[in-house]
């Protein structure tokens, strides 16, 4: 089973000096935090804010290569989140065949946003990621830790 997730926000985690991409399902029952590096957060934030950089950034370049051969990103699935190793699959359609490519969730999400492709999470990932951990963590945050994207 997979659940469609929406990007809820991007915040700075001062304790780990990293960023958190927060995904949420349609009814807000499930929250999925994904810790990403600064460059990866930047790539996601640019797509979220619809910023057109003067030169193509890495994920714009990635999309240009797919566009050059009419390959389309159909969907992205977050398949596993461990301590340090995060897994996602990117589903591509190319010349009537489907291809599944292994990726980090940060790259997959940055590309999905640029391709208007939906992002899903596997149920096992949602179950594994206890929301307690996130809630506890959120309680410790100060308002200034929240990026302007978070509502």
């Amino acid at each position: 089973m997979i659940t469609q997730m929406h990007l809820k926000g991007l915040m700075f985690d001062p304790y780990n000096n990293a960023y958190i991409v927060v995904l949420r399902d349609e009814d807000g029952h499930e929250m999925l935090p994904i810790w990403v590096g600064k460059a990866e957060a930047g790539a996601i934030s640019m797509a979220l804010e619809n910023v057109a950089p003067p030169r193509p950034m890495t994920h714009d370049f990635m999309k240009s290569i797919l566009d050059a051969y009419d390959a389309k990103v159909i969907s992205v699935v977050i398949t596993d989140l461990n301590e340090n190793t995060y897994f996602a699959k990117i589903h591509l359609m190319y010349q009537d065949s489907e291809y599944t490519v292994d990726a980090r969730p940060s790259d997959a999400i940055a590309l999905a946003l640029r391709s208007n492709a939906p992002v899903f999470a596997k149920e096992s990932v949602l179950n594994k990621q206890s929301s307690e951990e996130l809630e506890q963590w959120l309680e410790n945050l100060k308002p200034e830790d929240f990026g302007k994207l978070d509502s």
Binding site: P56, S64, A68, Y69
Partner: protein, 166 residues
């Protein structure tokens, strides 16, 4: 004659990635290319620190637990059977270098506009050759280069560059 060609071929000079240096006071790195045709020349390009990191990983052939962004680009290309024929740094405008990635799939050639850092990150991972056009070599900002070289002379006597030519 070349004149009749609608897009006359640029004269190209082959370079390789020599090393990536830290620029101490800023969040940038310097990518140094070395000319391959017997003429000694270093061609520095200032790039972002994440971009520099991506190039270093490829230069040192570091294996990361998960695919980094340019590994993912390479993986897409392998799935789609697209190869990188070459990367050309073919233009410079307002001190910004422009690169073109030449792709091929079953005889179908495509070009993609890129920042030199992305193009070179991919070229290193796919073992594609890298060229700088003579036009760019003639028009590069040498004032910048000379001040950089002067700094290098001071540095090289005190400190080893962090990525050596292998």
């Amino acid at each position: 004659m070349g004149q009749t060609d609608p897009a006359p071929k640029q004269r190209l000079v082959e370079y390789v990635v020599d090393r990536v240096l830290d620029e101490t006071n800023t969040d940038t790195k310097i990518l140094v290319l070395a000319r391959q045709d017997g003429h000694l020349d270093s061609f520095p390009i200032w790039i972002g620190s994440a971009e520099g990191h991506a190039i270093k990983l490829a230069l040192d052939t570091t294996l990361t637990p998960r695919p980094m962004s340019h590994d993912l680009v390479k993986s897409f290309m392998e799935h789609l059977n697209v190869t990188v024929r070459r990367v050309v740094i073919g233009d410079v405008k307002n001190s910004t270098y422009y690169a073109t990635v030449y792709l091929e799939n079953n005889g179908v050639e495509r070009t993609v506009d890129a920042r030199p850092s992305d193009a070179i990150s991919l070229a290193l991972r796919t073992r594609a050759p890298l060229y700088v056009s003579e036009d760019v070599l003639a028009r590069r900002n040498t004032a910048n280069l000379e001040s950089w070289l002067a700094k290098q002379d001071v540095k090289s006597s005190t400190k080893q560059p962090e990525v050596q030519e292998s």
